[in-house]
């Protein structure tokens, strides 16, 4: 290596289609990372260049085509926020250069576990979606006590969308909840784009569960759900906690749901909790004249920095084995927490000391951190629909 030839950083990103708003944040994060690195004189003295490819609505066909192109361009690393539909790990696993993604999907980590030889270059710099299920089963049932609310029964409603990120998490939760003696009384699978939640709310109304859990990545669907939930139960009441997986972290959710979301509980398994977050945010605002808009504005940077650290340690860029080995053994304190990769499937470990899952409750249009205790800022309260 050496010299001043460019290092090419490949980035398959969802720049058009339904995921474009995250894709835009990923692009900005990576562009800022590359620019800042270049301003520091590049990596190992070589300038970096970002090469992006649009994976649209995450169709397998597109990811493959983009993959072929990036490889053809001779990229030395591939980093994305997410470009998943269960293929990207396979596409880039075929090669040797490191591939870092935050798909948060078991589909993309299990291949690594199954064939570590071949897919050893694939890293997921966040925990997989099942961690949500595990965490929710461990903590949701304790939330009531903290509020001074006693669950009226042991019934749970699950509303999930047919997407593995949500399904696997919800199914894990159901499995663990049943072990604790809970009963699933509503178990609805929908597709994305539900506009009328009325019939499902009716089912909930009939079953009168103590917990309503909602697993759907689409902020529009989630906002509609909580708005219609509020319309239905706002006055007449429902003696239940409402929980959502991740989606309220997408800014549109609150914009759309407005006051209907007051009292909602939700969790995210990646959060801007690291020491550098505030500084990062200021640099972002300076560069883009606006605030970072989603978690991918932060976490994508971790992927980049992990790679940079590994390369610097290796002292070379195209010595892929070395770089990959360094990533595997890294302990990196990033914006989302401390990244340490699991040995089996190379995803960031989750937990309070690694990448923590945070519990939020929405009050006064703000997301207040109500757990775990290490990060807690506020006390959970009884939501308004509990009369």
């Amino acid at each position: 290596g050496g010299g001043t030839t460019e290092i090419k950083v490949g980035a398959p990103l969802p720049l058009t289609g339904p995921y474009a708003s995250d894709g835009e944040q990923m692009l900005k994060a990576l562009q800022m990372a590359v620019d800042e690195q270049n301003a520091k004189g590049g990596l190992l003295g070589r300038p970096l260049r970002l090469i992006t490819g649009d994976v649209g609505a995450l169709e397998a066909e597109k990811i493959k085509a983009v993959g072929e192109r990036l490889i053809g361009e001779g990229v030395d690393v591939v980093i994305t926020g997410y470009a998943d539909s269960g293929v990207d790990a396979r596409v880039f696993g075929e090669y040797d250069m490191p591939f870092l993604h935050a798909d948060a999907m078991t589909l993309n980590t299990e291949v690594v576990a199954q064939d570590p030889e071949k897919y050893g270059n694939v890293f997921q710099y966040c925990p997989s979606e099942v961690s949500y299920g595990i965490d929710a089963a461990a903590n949701l049932f304790k939330m009531g006590e903290k509020m001074g609310w006693k669950e009226p029964n042991k019934k749970i409603a699950i509303v999930k969308v047919d997407y593995s990120y949500n399904i696997l998490a919800a199914d894990k939760f159901a499995e663990l909840a049943k072990d604790q003696g809970y009963e699933i009384v509503v178990d609805e699978v929908t597709q994305f784009g539900v506009v009328e939640w009325g019939p499902i709310l009716s089912k909930i109304d009939n079953a009168q569960p103590a917990y309503v859990t909602f697993w759907n990545l689409d902020p529009t669907d989630a906002a509609r759900f909580i708005v219609q939930f509020k319309e239905r139960f706002g006055e007449k009441g429902l003696n239940a906690l409402v929980f959502m997986q991740f989606t309220p972290s997408i800014p549109e959710f609150l914009e759309l749901a407005g006051s209907a979301a007051e009292g909602l509980l939700w969790t995210a398994s990646i959060n801007p909790v690291g020491a550098g977050v505030e500084d990062y945010k200021q640099r972002w605002i300076a560069k883009y004249k606006e605030e970072p808009k989603s978690i991918y504005a932060y976490v994508t940077r971790d992927g980049f920095d992990i790679w940079v650290t590994a390369v610097e340690k290796a002292g070379c860029v195209d010595c892929y084995d070395k770089v990959v080995e360094n990533i595997r053994n890294i302990t990196y304190e990033g914006l989302a927490g401390v990244h340490v990769f699991t040995a089996t499937d190379q995803q960031s470990k989750y937990g309070d000391d690694f990448i923590p899952t945070l519990w939020y409750q929405i009050w006064g249009g703000e997301h207040l951190v109500v757990g775990p205790s290490k990060y807690q800022k506020a006390q959970p309260q009884m939501p308004p629909w509990i009369k």
Binding site: L15, T16, G17, A20, E24, L27, T52, G53, D54, G56, A57, L58, E59, A60, E61, K64, A65, V66, E68, R69, I71, G72, S85, G86, V87, R90, L107, V161, D162, Y163, S164, I167, V189, Q191
Partner: protein
């Protein structure tokens, strides 16, 4: 006579080029694009056979392709059936399912209702896939479907798809130039007169419907073995719109049209990926511009060139 010769020569030249292309320094990426082109032009050509020739306003052909793709994928993946069997089975299953559930009832209806029924049929599939998550993988689809043969590389897939492409085009050519093809023109011009001359519209259409869904299903089989994945995103709006665009951009109801259209869309779409967020904006603008200047589609551009060339040839040899 002369114009037949140079067109023929051009066609042969193009085919020879495609045949030799993997040896002319094609990258894995461009071979990949050609594979996509072969498969999508087959889907488009069959769709055109239905819509442009037989006047069956189907909007569900992507669905047919998906049925074929899933059939082949499931057979190969879960049951270990070898690909040379899964592809014909995919075609036959697709044709049988689609013809029975859709063709028999829909073809008795008038054009726009066929469009409606086929559209809804295609929109039903994602729900069914969700319901059968254990076998079809639900929203995440099927992955790691075995290739045509173990250890297949891009060149192998390239040639297999190319041969398939040629065979299907030959079949379509034969249909279009058969009495069935003539019957469709007759039906389009005057349905009642054709009926009174003994043309059974329903039967002729059913024939084409069955055949064309068979070939589309087989194309779905080719798709999964060549690419290795299929998921409900294949049934999404973008593939749907782009395939319609292929047919119409090339020139509806012409033999070469959908192939030219597929070439423009597949290669154009890939090329525009360089434009990042502007990709679809530019693609839309491209479609609009082409159609404003060549309302007959790309094929019209070809005819314009043809006229020029012919005039040139005639000028050089002013006899005959």
């Amino acid at each position: 006579m002369k114009h037949v010769n140079w067109k023929f020569a051009l066609a042969v030249l193009v085919l020879v080029f495609i045949l030799l292309y993997p040896w002319l320094g094609a990258s894995s990426y461009t071979k990949h694009l050609f594979i996509l082109f072969f498969i999508w032009s087959i889907v488009a050509a069959n769709w055109n056979l239905m819509m442009g020739y037989a006047g069956i306003n189907s909007l569900g052909n992507i669905g047919f392709m998906a049925i074929g793709g899933y059939t082949a994928g499931i057979l190969a993946k879960s049951l270990g059936v070898p690909p040379f069997l899964t592809i014909p089975i995919a075609g036959i299953v697709t044709s049988a399912v689609v013809t029975l559930a859709l063709g028999l009832p829909a073809l008795r209806l008038s054009g726009i209702y066929i469009a409606l029924l086929t559209l809804i049929f295609a929109d039903t599939l994602p729900s069914l896939l969700t319901q059968t998550r254990e076998i079809t993988g639900g929203a995440m689809g099927l992955h790691e479907i075995p290739p045509f043969y173990p250890g297949m590389d891009k060149t192998g897939a390239y040639y297999i798809c190319f041969v398939f492409f040629l065979v299907v085009l030959f079949i379509i050519y034969r249909i279009v130039h058969s009495p069935t093809g003539m019957a469709f023109v007759a039906l389009r011009d005057s349905e009642n007169f054709a009926y009174c001359l003994g043309v059974n519209k329903f039967r002729e259409r059913l024939k084409v419907f069955a055949l064309s869904s068979l070939l589309t299903g087989a194309a779905g089989g080719m798709y999964v073995h060549a690419l290795g994945d299929i998921s409900p995103t294949t049934l999404g709006i973008e593939p749907f719109l782009l395939t319609i665009a292929m047919i119409e951009l090339g020139g509806v109801g012409t033999f070469l049209g959908p192939i030219l259209g597929a070439a423009v869309i597949v290669f154009g779409n890939e090329f525009l990926r360089l434009a990042g967020t502007l990709r679809l904006t530019l693609l839309g603008a491209l479609i609009c511009t082409i159609i404003l200047f060549y309302p007959g589609g790309v094929i019209q551009l070809f005819h314009t060139i043809e006229h020029r060339v012919e005039r040139l040839l005639n000028r050089k040899t002013p006899t005959t």
